[in-house]
């Protein structure tokens, strides 16, 4: 009984973790370049709609649908980039507006095209030969879909990119000291455009995975605030990729736990459990602040537009 509950819970975790993880990874990329990204929810919404749209409208395969989700989010992110990088619009205002924009736009297009509540064949689990037959761990880890398998390599790639490549050095420079980067001859705007587009693509895939991979159906506003949680995860992780994966695991595990507790008839205040990730994030923030600089990888220019302006 307890084992069943555990197995059921653990097997469900990746489905919750992957959207968080990919979205947080994308946001991390954007924020490392010094661009605040409160519009994450918007990118996810667009990704979710584009994924389903690609299947229903174009007959795309699930993986191609995820590519469409990435593409659609990137497209929207270019609008965001024009606003905050080129036109130097306040990033909080632009981010919030972007979420509103995406909510309205996806609602309008999704209902207009009649994609609401139409089930699709989504991603299927791909059991890894041999490993998938392992007891316990096989079911939890090795009977997942392609996106789940690709999540950890994606983190490794981004972590390597940021820490060990010139591209990463430039991206971090743009986020930490845009003036210095500019003097060094690095195109601050171009780098930020690139980071926004690439990051948004990841967030878009996270959104597409929600509709194509998990729900296999589209309803309006289906991301249900996951984009905002991804923002919390990035802060929880203090802008470090592997910590972001850990954060996604924590948030995802709790999200997966809550309905199962209720279903099992266990009497616990489930909504208080749902608060834990947010309070934990807050606690991490307070702890980071109290401990002083050093440990936090928060980009110093986060949220600030750049314009070369000598004295």
């Amino acid at each position: 009984m307890v084992l069943d509950f555990l197995m059921n819970w653990l097997a469900a975790i990746p489905g919750f973790v992957v959207p968080f993880a990919l979205a947080a990874l994308g946001l991390l990329l954007i924020e490392k370049a010094g661009v605040l990204s409160l519009g994450a929810e918007g990118f996810m919404l667009v990704g979710a709609l584009a994924g389903i749209g690609a299947i229903l409208g174009l007959g795309a395969s699930p993986l191609a649908a995820l590519l469409c989700a990435a593409l659609a989010a990137t497209l929207l992110s270019l609008l965001y980039a024009v606003l905050v990088v080129s036109l130097r619009v306040n990033q909080v205002i632009a981010g919030l507006s972007l979420v509103f924009l995406a909510q309205g736009l996806t609602g309008l297009i999704g209902t207009g095209a009649g994609w609401v509540n139409r089930p699709v064949d989504g991603l299927r689990p791909v059991p890894v030969p041999l490993l998938g037959d392992l007891p316990l761990i096989g079911q939890v880890v090795f009977r997942q879909d392609t996106v789940v398998y690709l999540t950890v390599p994606a983190f490794a790639l981004v972590a390597w990119l940021l820490a060990r490549t010139m591209v990463g050095l430039r991206l971090r420079a743009v986020g930490d000291g845009p003036d210095a980067a500019d003097t060094a001859g690095i195109g601050v705007s171009a780098t930020r455009y690139g980071a926004i587009a690439a990051g948004a693509a990841l967030v878009g895939i996270a959104g597409g995975y929600l509709s194509v991979g998990i729900a296999r159906i589209w309803v309006e506003g289906m991301t249900g605030g996951r984009g905002w949680i991804a923002i919390a995860i990035v802060i929880f992780a203090r802008w470090r990729p592997w910590s972001a994966l850990a954060g996604a695991l924590l948030f995802g595990a709790i999200e997966a736990l809550i309905p199962r507790i209720a279903a099992a008839g266990i009497q616990v205040p489930q909504y208080f459990i749902a608060m834990i990730p947010y309070l934990a994030t807050l606690a991490v923030m307070v702890w980071t602040c109290l401990r002083g600089g050093g440990g936090s990888m928060e980009p110093r220019a986060l949220g600030r537009a750049h314009l070369r302006e000598d004295r």
């Binding site: 010139m166 971090r172 420079a173 210095a180 980067a181 500019d182 060094a184």
Partner: protein, 499 residues
């Protein structure tokens, strides 16, 4: 020998306002070439053209004899022009090597880092730099950060070095070290251009000097062939008098610092048992190497930082460090060193900045209604009285004022009521000669009216010029006191020997 850098007929205007008119400079390999001028004379603008940050409207640039078009920092770098800006362009979270790698570029990160490290160590050894290459530069001292900047342009292969006001933030000793390094680089065949407004530096270190005024070049000369006063008049256009005016009547102690101990934001204790008094009618100058607690002392006196222990008694007002007591209400005026940080709000109007000083006094209306008309007329009167220029109206943003005029605005506000005690922290830093002497005159006038004046400055010349008594601060305490006129060498020795 063809000049390393020859700029001729360079003009540049911003927003219709000419910053450079037919300006230029010719610097040869092997020389230290000083570019001298007041603030706003166009020195930095000319050099920003040289390093590709600005594009000139007209003019010719030749590097090693060849005509070039410098259309960006990258082009300047390719031509071997490296600039150390006044405000360092370093990524604070990166260490020195990462900063250098960022500027130099590389096709592969790992190999690039190894190459940069080897080159940086070589250069460090050659120049005798001691520098932690693996610490985030944000944790380094200002002088160390400057060394990182110099290292950066050298590793990038610069043969034409431009340093914009390099000694502005350094102590005498650090500045001397830095300039010796420049001498060595010039001897190795680099052309070093030193942008400065310090005449003494020019006389001591430069092989040639180009003087700019109002965006034009007014002279190019051998500094040994012109006298200090000739140079001064070239810079300001007219001779300015530098004479000490001693205090007329010194009274009883008015401002008492007793065993003041305080810590920096990061917890480091930088103020240690500082004890001294400032008497009515005197200027007490604190000399010292930067970072020995001066900033914290000023912040505690202004009321923006709490001491760990000790007190500051202002006669008749009690302990200024006590909860709820504010020096402002007791007649304390403050001219902070960090003008943009503590003295002015650049995005607010001149009138708002002026009113901030007395808004609680009731002069500009009570809590229910603020009297904007009174603010405006008071500001206009103060701008006229204190010669604040460069603003069309009091409603213009204070951030548009030049450094000198902004400082005059601060002084106008602080001296709106005759102060009983004055804190003046590096009051002429970044000001040209004329504005500085206007500020100095105001300080003397307040002193002669009986105020106790605490002058904190890292510019020893300023301390020697203004003070009636000098205290040397080292490691957070006053280690020596001098009556004036004091010997420059004696004060300097006290500063260094206790450090």
């Amino acid at each position: 020998m063809s000049p390393a850098l020859a700029m001729t007929g360079v003009s540049k205007s911003f927003d219709g306002f000419p910053a450079l008119t037919d300006a230029g400079i010719t610097a040869y390999p092997g020389e230290i070439h000083a570019l001298l001028g007041e603030n706003g004379a166009g020195k930095s603008t000319l050099m920003n053209v040289a390093c590709g940050l600005y594009r000139p409207d007209a003019g010719e640039v030749r590097v090693r004899g060849e005509r070039v078009s410098i259309d960006g920092p990258k082009a300047a770098k390719r031509l071997g022009i490296g600039m150390v800006h006044q405000h360092y362009r370093l990524v604070k979270a990166f260490n020195a090597l990462e900063n250098i790698l960022l500027a130099r570029g590389a096709s592969r990160y790992g190999r690039g880092l190894r190459e940069v490290e080897a080159a940086a160590r070589r250069t460090c050894d050659a120049l005798g730099f001691t520098l932690p290459l693996d610490r985030p530069v944000g944790l380094l001292s200002v002088a160390e950060q400057q060394r990182v900047e110099i290292l950066k342009v050298l590793v990038e292969g610069a043969r034409i070095l431009v340093l914009d006001e390099p000694s502005a933030v350094l102590t005498d000793r650090e500045a001397a070290q830095m300039l010796d390094t420049m001498r060595r680089l010039a001897d190795e065949g680099c052309a070093v251009i030193l942008v400065t407004h310090k005449l003494g530096e020019v006389k001591r270190y430069a092989d040639r000097v180009t003087v700019m005024r109002g965006g034009r070049v007014v002279a190019s000369a051998d500094p040994d062939a012109v006298s200090l006063s000739e140079l001064t008049s070239l810079v300001v256009g007219a001779e300015v008098h530098h004479a000490r005016v001693p205090a007329r009547r010194i009274g009883a102690p008015l401002l008492r610092f007793a065993a003041l101990t305080g810590a920096r934001a990061d917890g480091l204790r930088v103020l240690n048992d500082a004890t001294f008094v400032v008497r009515a009618g005197e200027i007490y100058g604190i000399a010292g190497v930067g970072g020995n607690g001066q900033t914290e002392l000023a912040e505690i006196l202004m009321g923006v930082r709490r001491p760990l222990s000790g007190s500051i008694e202002l006669d008749g007002a009690g302990d200024l460090c006590a909860e709820g007591v504010r020096g402002r209400g007791a007649g304390l005026a403050a001219i902070p060193a960090d003008r943009a940080g503590y003295a002015l709000a650049g995005s607010l109007s001149i009138a708002d900045n002026y009113a901030a000083g007395a808004v609680l006094s009731g002069r500009f209306g009570g809590w229910f209604r603020l009297d904007r008309r009174a603010i405006r007329s008071a500001t206009e009167a103060a701008m006229a009285a204190f010669d604040v220029q460069g603003a069309r109206s009091p409603n213009q943003r204070a951030g548009l004022l030049s450094g000198g005029n902004a400082q005059k605005l601060v002084v106008a506000r602080e001296f709106a009521d005759p102060p009983r005690a004055v804190l003046a922290h590096s009051p002429s830093r970044g000001l040209d000669v004329r504005a500085a002497s206007a500020v100095h005159a105001r300080l003397r006038a307040a002193r002669d009216a009986g105020a106790a004046i605490l002058l904190i400055s890292e510019d020893l010349d300023e301390v020697l010029l203004l003070s009636d008594r000098i205290g040397v601060m080292s490691r957070g305490r006053i280690v020596a006191e001098f009556d004036t006129p004091a010997k420059r060498n004696a004060v300097g020795a006290a500063m260094v020997h206790h450090a």
